[in-house]
Amino acid sequence: MSEAIDYRKNLHTAGAISITGVSKSFGKLKALDEVSLELEPGSVTVILGPSGSGKSTLLRTINHLERVDEGYIQIDGDYIGYQRRGDKLYELKEKAILRQRINVGYVFQNFNLFPHLTVLENLIEAPIAHRQLSRRAAIDRAGELLDVVGLRHKADAWPRHLSGGQQQRIAIARALMLNPRVMLFDEPTSALDPELVGEVLDVIKKLARSGTTLVIVTHEVGFAREVADNVVFMVDGRIVEQGSSTQVLNQPRHERTKRFLARVL
């Protein structure tokens, strides 16, 4: 598969994610409770769990879309949202946080393409804003990534005129434009009609083979079995079980995991 290499050129190393004792509350609800997790560079991790179990919140904290109350998250040793000097974590200013986010691609459940920009403009917006690429270079790279997701012919279309599956593939390409070390997917297929799920999962599979670190929140257990190195199962803001995908999906140890898988499969 030539495209598996194609879009990774100029890519820096894949990132290692380290989550240490992270807690987060919304009012009285404890969304995350002392979550710790180590993800190796280039690994593919699927987070499973019933709704309200804190999977999406965990994903959002990795990109600092959500502040954590306790604990910390590191990507390649850098503290997300903070800078460490000695034994103190200094809160970063907004600009520095935005700069950190360049290393992390995020794909939303509802795509969140910018509806007033064409597909091409959606893609080149961020690299131009960050002065990573010239306009010309950004357009070239956008073309390559649109090839990867199979939508080059839609470069000048408006997002609203595309199907959900196409929009999500564009959103993935948009996140890849910044050469992120880590890609986060927040239920990327949940808003899609069943027959459109496959085309999005296919794109993610291509990425999985490319060596970028992926973290995917999803309900697609079959997809997890096929693609994931690790599977993490969460309930009530806690990690109940984690391990290789075969272990967690085929021989779940925890009662809660067994019940969940029995219902989903």
């Binding site: 990109n63 879309l65 907004e94 600009k95 935005l98 700069r99 950190q100 986010r101 360049i102 992390v104 691609g105 995020y106 939303f108 509802n110 969140n112 393409l113 910018f114 509806p115 007033h116 920009l117 917006e125 961020a126 804003a129 960050h130 408006w158 997002p159 609203r160 005129h161 948009r174 996140a175 910044l178």
Partner: protein, 307 residues
């Protein structure tokens, strides 16, 4: 099949609509008749004054006031809206206070206070308060003439309303758009002006044009400054000639024209903003009308050009 072919479709008829239309046309005709042929409307006087230089210069003042008022109040109102939405408690409270104050004060009060500013403060100076630092002193009466006072008064009041309209537009944009912009690491300035504002504009535009149209007519309020804008000019003339109705009709016709132009402008701006939504944009009415038989002409033109 053959059974189906024999069926004919009878369109539904609405006799009441026809009757209603006839009644409406009849009323319209009688109104037009009474306005056009009743000599007391004095259309001759209307025609005489319509393009009179005095009226036109008043019209010019009205247009200038509307233009300055609109531009300045949109800029200032936009800043107020951003301040109101800012996460800084102080900024948002100050903006709230400003909006509260100037939505409460009648325009006429603001205008009269500004016009009497020279009575309240003899001189204005540019410098840092509570220090001796200063870059200039001005006589208030020289700086705040009729026109500046009118523009400032209109801007102060109008921007309070504009701020709320713009804030409403921002609130209407899906929160996911903020998150997507943040996730891509876009700076807050870029997020605001490149991502959120263009989407907010669609919600902002209709109400903004409402406000511009009210402002165009609302400028007549500056007559309290004895400023010769359209309405004040007309009052001066009919006080002299006693031809009240025809002169008011001159004013009404000009306001009608201003509003018509603004409405057309609004229509085309909204069409342009909707371009990402409509699947196959219809050519504008004007273009449709121009192209109604233009096909062969364009072909001929291209033919000529290719030689």
């Amino acid at each position: 099949m053959s059974n189906q072919q024999r069926l004919t479709v009878v369109p539904a008829r609405y006799p009441a609509r026809t009757v209603g239309a006839i009644v409406a046309l009849f009323i319209l005709a009688s109104v037009i008749d009474s306005v056009a042929f009743n000599p007391r409307w004095e259309w001759g006087v209307f025609a005489k004054w319509f393009f009179d230089p005095v009226i036109l210069s008043g019209l010019g003042q009205t247009l200038l006031l509307t233009l300055f008022g609109t531009i300045l109040s949109l800029i200032f109102g936009g800043l107020l809206a951003l301040a109101r939405l800012s996460s800084s408690w102080l900024l948002s409270t100050l903006a709230f206070g400003y909006i509260w104050l100037f939505r409460s004060l009648p325009l006429i009060v603001v205008l009269i206070i500004l016009y009497n500013f020279s009575y309240l403060y003899d001189t204005l100076s540019l410098g840092i308060p509570f220090t001796a630092l200063s870059w200039g002193h001005f006589q208030t009466i020289n700086v705040l003439g009729q026109f500046p006072a009118a523009v400032i008064g209109l801007t102060l009041v109008q921007s309070a309303y504009s701020a709320e309209i713009i804030r409403g537009g921002f609130l209407g944009v899906d929160h996911g758009q903020f998150e997507a912009a943040s996730a891509l690491g876009l700076s807050s300035t870029r997020r605001t002006f490149r991502i959120i504002l263009p989407q907010a504009l669609r919600a902002i535009m209709p109400t903004t044009f409402n406000e511009i149209i009210s402002l165009a007519k609302g400028t007549s309020m500056v007559y309290v400054l004895a400023m010769p804008e359209l309405f004040y000019t007309i009052q001066m003339i009919y006080n002299r000639t006693q031809q009240v109705i025809p002169l008011l009709m001159v004013g009404a016709a000009w306001y009608l024209i201003i509003t018509t132009v603004l409405s057309l402008l609004q229509h085309s701006v909204e069409r342009w903003l909707a371009r990402s939504v409509t699947r196959e944009p219809q050519p504008s009415r004007w273009r449709q009308w121009r192209n109604r038989s233009a096909k062969p002409v364009t072909e001929e033109l291209s033919h000529v050009r290719s030689h």
